[in-house]
Amino acid sequence: WNEPIVFELHQPGEKGVELPPVNEQIVSAVGDGVSVIPDTMKRNEKPNLPEIGQARILRHYVRLSQETLGSDFNVEIGQGTCTMKYIPKINELLIRDPKMMELHPLQDEGTVQGMLEIFHNLDLCMREISGMDYFSFQPSSGTQALFTMASIVRKYHETRGEGDQRDEIITTIFSHPSQAATAAVKGYKIITLHPDENGFPDIEKLKAAVSERTAGFVVANPEDTGIFNPKIKEFTDIVHEAGGLCFYDQANANGLLGITRAKEAGFDMCFFNLHKTFAAPHMCGGPATGALGVIAELRDYLPAPIVEHQDGKYSLQYDLKHSIGKVRSFHGVAQTVLRSYAWIRALGPDGLKEVAKIAVLNNNYMYHKVLAIRGASAPYVKGHRLEQVRYSWEQMANETGVTTEDVTRRMTDFGLHYWTSHHPYIVPQPFTLEPTESYSKEDLDEYIHALEQISKEAYENPEIVKTAPHNSTIHKMDEQDFLDDPEKWCITWRSYLKKAKTEC
């Protein structure tokens, strides 16, 4: 398809849907309803939205959907750190139950016992998986969970009278950028530890960093390199001794389920991405849930309410003494809570452990295969990778001029995703692959084969790769600064009409 922008479909007079009409008797009783608005506050011109018949709108959006590569459609390995896994269709059916979709969050507790039971049951499961004592599902992404944890750290120290003194949070460079960013939002100075030559977090650097100003330590383990820090318990001990709290970004937990837990590693808090590790879909980027677990001592700091269960009755507990307040309206994204609960129940404890084991098996298989590709490498320690690996095309780039961005575009010609990775590009020419447990050996081989092919092309005929994509929905975008020059960027169609169209 070469589908126009929705505004270009405008045909005055067409209609997409009819609204429920107002009752004539109501009109008789109250009139037109809008005259009560003072003139200054009335909308005088209708919004400049397009008018389009229903069939054409549907056609527009289903065509756009086909131009989108969901994980249902490809071997979704290339979005490393994102834990793209199979989204069970049964769960998608279950969340469309009107007994879920049509619930108002403020309904009387007696009328939402089922929903509260699901929240509580998932809480119980997450406790087993993490060793934590209480969970909140209010944070609606990993980033928001990180922010919530930073908020709890602050509240915790404030409650103890050390709010001003403890103004530093320590993180590592291979943890997700949101760890640093959210702590900074909460007013903290960030100390970022760089790894040792093997890619392990450096314990000496941590020792040097902690002090009476340390509020907390936040880290992913394994980090985005896929390397697990075996000394993690020593790390948390050091931070605890300095008086800080330790909080754990479990975005990379997929290789750890049933294997090792936050509690034993000495963490006070942790969070899991339900939309990654627990098989809720990514939905183009949310809504999502960052399930936040804390030890009993921190229960009263959680955002309210949390679900409690007593005498067979579920209730919402709003009365949390030190609560940071709220981070998201009402109860969070109930659908992801239901999906993840369903996923856990479909697997059971043994299945969860298999998830972890196969994710690690798949990743190590991939690791061995990718390292054999000409021009590819995986910096830092050999082996020791769990569920993902951050690789590098540094050699290929040096030898052929083909960069990891070129590979990104070329991969789309194979109908596959490939993501370079987060900033910062500490690893040069990076790419991050995370095969999860969802893909078969044959799937992995297909993906590996595409990488091999591109490497071959890069060495034999680099232009093919550099001018890619050749076979995608659109051609290569113009490389001028349409996205970074304020005179040229157009964030909306009306803006485009003002800026770009006038040039023509």
């Binding site: 922008i5 929705v6 209609k15 609204l19 429920p20 009752n23 009783a29 809008v34 608005i37 009335k42 919004p47 400049n48 939205l49 008018e51 389009i52 709108i57 549907l58 959907s65 590569l69 994980s71 249902d72 979704e76 979005q79 069970p88 139950d97 007994k99 049509e102 619930l103 969050p105 089922g114 699901i118 998986i129 609606s140 990993g142 709010g163 950028p177 960013a181 075996p230 294997i259 090792t260 837990r261 980027g285 999502a288 998201r328 239901l338 129940r345 479909a346 059971g348 298999e354 196969i358 295969k369 575009r409 900033h423 929905t473 975008m477 349409f482 304020p486 964030i491 909306t492 485009y496």
Partner: protein
């Protein structure tokens, strides 16, 4: 349990595992975990019930969900930040498409459709709010407001935020937690007869450290703040920014805040095509003018349109990516990550379906239906249909103080009549005593409203 191969985990097949381990050069999968010290390894079994097959799972979950009573079964008058509206079937069809459901962070080529759908959403909301820049949506209105005031603080270099005292209390909690410790917050009083902001108090508090004034229109309490232009004037005189939160479904009939001087507009997309989902349908948007000093302060992704090497073809990409925390970590603008993209796409579908006429019509119908409900309630002895005298949109305060019953008691009795009564305001707004916030939209029929009236009459005469 013997290790049956799970349908979700193909490589549980032992022969395949053996082959893969051979390539790796390992004896067992557990060998791959050698990097984890033994003392960290979980010894006991997790206390989670054994696996269910798909059919068992379905019966289990549906059995639990059947303990709920939904707004399809009872007539619902709850709003207060999550609203029941008509949702066109096309919205559901689009957001349930497997492609959109399972896509994530693909590139502009293989995910062209996702980029375009989000760019279109930005463009459609831009028309509704009459501003040139709209972000890829964030978590909810609370987050959007939080970020809006932080943006205002960065733009002005000031640290104090004035909040209307009528801002939704739960929303203020989000804003304040998100803003502190960097920002200071102060509340501006309101007139308890009209809900309107107390301009004298505002003026007094508008000191030179005020970055922004934030109020909501229609407000949490339903009334329309009609002093938009006056407030705007005061704010501008102080070189502060005006941030206004809106319910976007009102914008077919009420002027968008940009038209009375707002610098930043925010709100929740949930009314535009999202099911309530026990609050899983919220999504926050932010809109501004297309000025560098505003655009550079967005933490969110902003998709822009780009020509491709083929003439007449459009591509899309991230505008000014280097401002984000993806690029700059703690030096970026706040933080960005997974937010509520699918609801953005859905809101776009909704706006395209309704068009200019539909948005006007839905706003008007809501006003008529809610006015009718308030009018009828007022005719019940002891009940004041709308506690405030000002015009309102969709929600209004019902005053039960003269009935001798508490809102809690009334709501319990309404439940017996299959009605979810309005939100009890007695804790959040003591000044209104036993009052409740009722919500009436285009989905309520006259019969629904009359059933409410009749039920309250019966409750009060018992």
């Amino acid at each position: 349990m013997s290790q049956k191969v799970h349908p979700y985990i193909p490589n549980m097949v032992p022969e395949v595992q053996a082959e893969m381990l051979k390539v790796i050069g390992a004896e067992s999968i557990m060998e791959l975990y050698s990097c984890i010290p033994d003392e960290l390894k979980l010894k006991e079994e997790m206390n989670i019930p054994p696996a269910l097959t798909e059919y068992e799972l379905r019966r289990h979950i549906e059995g639990i969900l059947n303990k709920n009573t939904s707004t399809k079964e009872y007539v619902n008058f709850l709003g207060a930040g999550c609203w029941q509206h008509f949702i066109p079937a096309v919205c559901d069809e689009v957001n349930q498409r497997s492609e959109f459901l399972t896509a994530y962070a693909g590139e502009p080529y293989e995910d062209h459709g996702r980029f375009q759908a989000l760019f279109e959403y930005q463009s459609l909301v831009a028309e509704l709010v009459d501003m040139d820049v709209v972000n890829v949506p964030t978590f909810d209105w609370g987050q959007a407001a939080s970020t809006s005031v932080r943006m205002a603080a960065r733009i002005t270099g000031r640290k104090k935020i004035l909040l209307a005292n009528t801002v939704a209390p739960e929303r203020s909690k989000i804003i304040i937690n998100y803003g502190t410790p960097e920002l200071q917050f102060e509340f501006v009083e309101f007139n308890t007869e009209t809900g309107a902001m107390d301009l004298t108090d505002l003026q007094a508090k508008l000191t030179e450290d005020v970055a922004a004034v934030y109020f909501e229109n229609p407000s949490y309490l339903g009334f329309i703040e009609v002093q938009g232009p006056e407030i705007s004037k005061l704010v501008k005189e102080n070189d502060s920014l005006l941030v206004v939160g809106v319910d976007p479904i009102s914008l077919g009939v009420i002027a968008p805040p940009s038209q009375y001087g707002a610098d930043i507009v925010c709100g929740d997309l949930q009314p535009l095509g999202m099911h309530m989902n026990f609050s899983g349908g919220q999504a926050g948007f932010i809109a501004t003018r297309d000025e560098v000093e505003f655009v550079q302060e967005y933490p969110s992704r902003l998709f822009g349109i780009v020509p491709t090497v083929k003439e007449g073809e459009y591509g899309f990409g991230d505008v000014f990516y280097d401002r984000t925390s993806f690029a700059l970590r703690e030096k970026g603008k706040e933080s960005v990550g997974t937010q509520t993209a699918l609801w953005g796409i859905t809101a776009g579908v909704y706006l395209a379906l309704l068009g200019p006429e539909g948005m006007q019509e839905v706003g008007q119908t809501i006003m008529q239906n809610s006015q009718y409900a308030a009018q009828q309630l007022s005719q019940i002895e002891g009940v004041k249909g709308s506690r405030l005298h000002s015009p309102f949109f969709k929600e209004f305060i019902v005053d039960f103080n003269q009935t001798g019953l508490t809102v809690k008691e009334i709501n319990e009795k309404l439940l017996e009549k299959k009605i979810f009564g309005g939100k009890d305001l007695s804790e959040e707004f003591h000044e209104f005593g036993q009052s409740a916030l009722f919500c009436v939209t285009e989905v309520h029929t006259k019969e629904d409203i009359d059933h409410l009236i009749q039920s309250i009459k019966e409750i009060l005469t018992k």
